[in-house]
C-alpha cells in the first residue's frame, strides 16, 4: 500500500494570551498530521481552544509557538486551497446566493472571467440551483449553510475546515447536510480532498470522522487520537457506534 500524502502538519502548536504580565494558556503542544482523503474531527469541551486551533490552522490566528504547514509550506490565510465554513454562515444578507459565492472567489483572487462559471458549478454541487437570485432572508438555515459551503469549495479547495457547521441548524437539517458533506468528500472528482471539523458533539464526530482528536479543557491539550473504524454508512443506533461515543465521553469528562 502506498503511503497517503500529507496535506497538513500541525507541529507542536501552542497559543497563549498575555494580560497584565500574566500568561493565559489556551492551547498546549497540539500535534497531528492530516492526509489526503482524511476526515478528522476535533472534539473537546467548551473553552478547550478548538475553534482557536482551527483559526490557527487556516491562518487566521498565529500560534505562540509551533507551526502549521500546508503542503509543506507555512499556512497563509489567503491560500485558496484551504477554506473555512463557519457556524454563523458568514454570508452577506444584501447579496444573492450567486453574488455571495462570487464574492468568495473575488476574495481568493479568481479571475473575473472565471467567477460566474465557477459559482454556477458549485451552486449546483451543493444543491442550490434554482435559488441563484435568492437573498439569504429567503433561505432556511440549511440553505444558508450550503451557500457557505459553495463559497468555501468554489476555489477547488483541497482542505475544507469547518467550525461547528451544523450547530445552528435543526437536527433533521443537520443530519441531511452531514450526509451530503460525506457524499462530497468521498467523491474523488469533487473537492475537498480532506475535511477537518471542530465540533462539541461527540456523536457527530463519531458519525463523520475517520479519526477523532480529543482535547481536554483549558488549556486545550491533546488527550487522544482515535481511529474510528466503523463501516459507512454509520447507524447511530447501533451498539458499536455508542461504544465509541462512550469511550470519547470518558476521555473528556
Amino acid at each position: 500500500m502506498t503511503k497517503k500524502k500529507v496535506i497538513l502538519e500541525v507541529n507542536d502548536v501552542s497559543r497563549s494570551y498575555f494580560e497584565g504580565g500574566k500568561e493565559f494558556k489556551a492551547l498546549e503542544h497540539i500535534r497531528f498530521d492530516l492526509y489526503a482523503q482524511d476526515f478528522v474531527c476535533i472534539v473537546g469541551p467548551s473553552g478547550c481552544g478548538k475553534s482557536t486551533l482551527l483559526r490557527i490552522i487556516v491562518g487566521l490566528d498565529r500560534p505562540t509557538s509551533g507551526e502549521v504547514l500546508f503542503e509543506g509550506k507555512p499556512i497563509e490565510a489567503k491560500n485558496p486551497q484551504v477554506a473555512m465554513v463557519f457556524q454563523s454562515f458568514a454570508i452577506f444578507p444584501w447579496l444573492t446566493v450567486e453574488q455571495n459565492v462570487e464574492l468568495g472567489l473575488e476574495a481568493r483572487r479568481v479571475a473575473p472571467s472565471m467567477r460566474a462559471e465557477k459559482a454556477k458549478r458549485y451552486i449546483e454541487i451543493v444543491g442550490l440551483t434554482g435559488f441563484e437570485n435568492a437573498f439569504p432572508r429567503e433561505l432556511s438555515g440549511g440553505m444558508k449553510q450550503r451557500v457557505g459551503l459553495a463559497r468555501a469549495l468554489a476555489t477547488d479547495t483541497v482542505l475544507l475546515c469547518m467550525d461547528e457547521p451544523f450547530s445552528a441548524l435543526d437536527a433533521l437539517t443537520a443530519q441531511n447536510l452531514r450526509d451530503e458533506i460525506l457524499e462530497l468528500w468521498s467523491d474523488p472528482a469533487l473537492p475537498p480532498d480532506a475535511v477537518l471539523m471542530v465540533t462539541h458533539s461527540i456523536e457527530e464526530a463519531v458519525y463523520l470522522a475517520d479519526r477523532v482528536i480529543v482535547l481536554s479543557g483549558r488549556p486545550g491539550r491533546q488527550v487522544a487520537e482515535l481511529e474510528i473504524d466503523l463501516p459507512r454508512p454509520r447507524n447511530r443506533r447501533e451498539p458499536e457506534f455508542y461504544g465509541w461515543v462512550d469511550d470519547i465521553y470518558s476521555l473528556i469528562v
Binding site: M143, D170, A171, L172, N176, R237
Partner: protein, 161 residues
C-alpha cells in the same frame, strides 16, 4: 390541509433517515425525542413527507414508502429529479404554471397571492405562496425575483455529465 408546506427537502430527507435508522418504521413521538424537536417543529415535516407520498403516518407511526426509499437512496441530482415529478403533479402548482403559460408573461406575487387567498383564505396565503416558490425553485421549474416580485417558468438545467 394546506396544499403544501414550506419545510425544506433537507428536513424531509433528515426525517426519512431518522426513520430508516430506527428500522424503516418508527413512532413519531420517539423520533421527536431523538432529534429534540417538538410536535410544532416536527409536525409540518411529517405532513409534508406524507403529502409528497414519501412516508405514511398511521396512529402516530411513520413508515417509509417506496418513493421515500428512492429519495433516500438517490444522490443530490437524482433526488431533485424524483421530487420534480411529484411537484409537477400537484394541483396548486399546476394552477400557477398554467396561469403563466396562459397569459404568456411572468405572474406577479400580488396576482398569485390573490388567487391563493380565494381558495385558501388570506390567513394561509403567504405561507402557501412561500411554499410554492420554494418547491418551484428547488425543482427548477420556476424562477422568482424577490425584488421585482415576478415569477417565471424555468427549464431545469440538464443533468451534468
Amino acid at each position: 390541509m394546506q396544499p403544501i408546506s414550506r419545510v425544506s427537502l433537507g428536513q424531509i430527507v433528515g426525517l426519512l433517515k431518522a426513520v430508516d435508522e430506527a428500522g424503516g418504521d418508527a413512532d413519531v413521538a420517539e423520533i421527536g425525542r431523538s432529534v429534540e424537536m417538538d410536535l410544532d417543529a416536527l409536525g409540518p415535516i411529517v405532513n409534508a413527507a406524507e403529502f409528497l407520498g414519501l412516508a405514511r403516518a398511521e396512529e402516530g407511526n411513520l413508515t417509509i414508502e417506496e418513493l421515500g426509499r428512492k429519495v433516500l437512496n438517490a444522490g443530490l441530482r437524482q433526488r431533485k429529479a424524483i421530487v420534480r415529478e411529484i411537484i409537477k403533479e400537484l394541483p396548486s402548482f399546476q394552477r400557477l404554471t398554467e396561469r403563466i403559460q396562459a397569459t404568456g408573461r411572468p405572474a406577479t406575487r400580488e396576482e398569485v397571492l390573490a388567487a391563493i387567498e380565494e381558495r385558501f383564505g388570506s390567513h394561509n396565503a403567504p405561507s402557501i405562496f412561500n411554499a410554492l416558490i420554494y418547491w418551484g425553485r428547488y425543482v427548477e421549474l420556476l424562477s422568482y425575483d424577490s425584488r421585482s416580485e415576478r415569477i417565471e417558468l424555468r427549464q431545469p438545467s440538464p443533468p451534468a455529465a
